[in-house]
Amino acid sequence: MGKVGIIGVGQSKFVRGFAGSIRELAFEGFKEALVDAKIQTKDIDASIIASAPEYDKQRSSAGVVAEYLGLIPQPTFYIETVCSSSSTALKVAYSMIKAGLHDVVAIVGFQKMSEISSNESQERMGRGADIQWESPFGTMMPAYYAMYAQAHMAKYGTTGEDLAKIRVKAATYGQINDKAVYRKPVTMDMFTDPKSNMSSPVAKPLRVGDCCANADGSSCVIVASEERAKSLCDKPVWILGIGAASETVNMAGRDLFTGLNVGIEAGRQAYKMAGITSKDIDIAEVHDCFTIAEMMAYENLGFAKTGEGKDLIAGKETYKEGSIPVNVDGGLLSKGHPIGATGGSQIRTIVLQLRGEAGEMQVKDPELGLVHNIGGVGLYGNVTIMGR
């Protein structure tokens, strides 16, 4: 059975309040991927649409988006695993090609978070957990990740200052990524300055500066069978390892509060499938919806020993020039986190890096790249390893 290659990637600018509908938003990422792949819409023989439906007014958006993109009458369907929807869709597309059912599949992820009012959005956030047993206590996403931060601090001595360093790194690259929603610099001083919004508590111990930027955006990844990838594309990027895992929704069902089991398990699967270890990875995109999430990803993926993530960021090892560059496109923290588009955007960053086309963000000559995309509070996790 042949390999599966990525032949085109695209994403819209990530913005606040996209001035258009969801189908128009999806078009932006799709068009860029199609141009990047130098193929025509008719070359695509199936599509998978990914978003988090609670933000869409449109019911069953796959049909509407596929029609707008001209992907009719090819089969299309919808995949959802919250924030990891589009990397889950990539795994499904990979399986469809491996099974020989399709040759070229487009994964279109999007989210227009401003589609609903902020009040509606606040109401939906209240139902982001186990609605029977946890939501009645008034839970919110930042508070769950804050519990992980609290436990990590208590066990390993990680501090708010350590977490702030991750935000400062993200902003360093957000400033040079013209697709990022947050383009401003962030300094360590802002986290100790009570007048700065960055230091304002959201869910203790996490502050505004620890939380990712909401955004509207779309992404697209076009994958093809080995034969088609070679005939259509000069520089295909191959999917070498693809892992996925799930975890209990309810915190009471979990056994780890200083890391995410789904990240560990999906990583283990992906490394095994690719026949490599964490040391072989030259560049990574990890799911930094909160600073603590990036810290845990360092440890869960083996870039740092458990509890030593703080040393990795202190030594600037995850900067562009470091031993393992992570999120050098600004990450979710600065580039933004349009839920259904995020995984595809992470894949795009790694593909551009492996092709040497990342511009000012380019890392020196990477051969193997990794994408770690988490859905919910460690509810779903996907790790994808790619190479030239």
């Binding site: 209240g126 946890e134 009645p136 008034g138 769950y144 519990m147 609290q150």
Partner: protein, 143 residues
């Protein structure tokens, strides 16, 4: 003919309940009686908190209730400065998780313990609580 009674006791759970009907509705009656109860499978003795009406380990639905007693160890906690719609009056409040060894409990810290008075590893107990809007939940208190 009398209208069929709907057992929607679960709508009393928490500041805002998102569930009305569940096979674990007796949890609410136990809470009203001052008891926090989980379930235990009569067939394979698997213990569940929060309670479940079906055992995924042996596929039986033959469950009995057990009471959460004694203290659990505080695994983690967070104080929210912002809440979802319907929770504004409770702010700020602290969510937390306790480890009882054979099961864990997710819930809220009692209002009489300030954020700075909490430390991972401390022992707390779970007690029933009536909220200002008349709803029921349970909170973690100093033993």
């Amino acid at each position: 003919m009398a209208k069929k009674e709907v057992d929607d006791r679960f709508k009393k759970f928490g500041t805002v309940s998102f569930t009305a009907i569940t096979k674990t509705n007796d949890f609410i009656s136990h809470l009203e009686d001052g008891k926090i109860m989980g379930t235990k499978c009569k067939e394979c003795e698997a213990v569940y908190f929060p309670p479940r009406s079906d055992c995924f380990k042996c596929l039986n639905s033959n469950m009995e209730w057990f009471e959460v007693t004694g203290t659990g160890k505080l695994l983690s906690f967070s104080e929210l400065q912002y809440g979802p719609v319907g929770f504004e009056k409770d702010l700020p409040y602290i969510i937390a998780i306790l480890d009882y060894g054979f099961h864990k409990v997710f819930g809220r810290i009692s209002d009489d313990i300030p954020y700075d008075g909490l430390k991972v590893g401390m022992e707390l107990q779970t007690v029933p609580n009536t909220l200002s809007n008349g709803q029921l939940n349970y909170v973690f208190k100093q033993p």
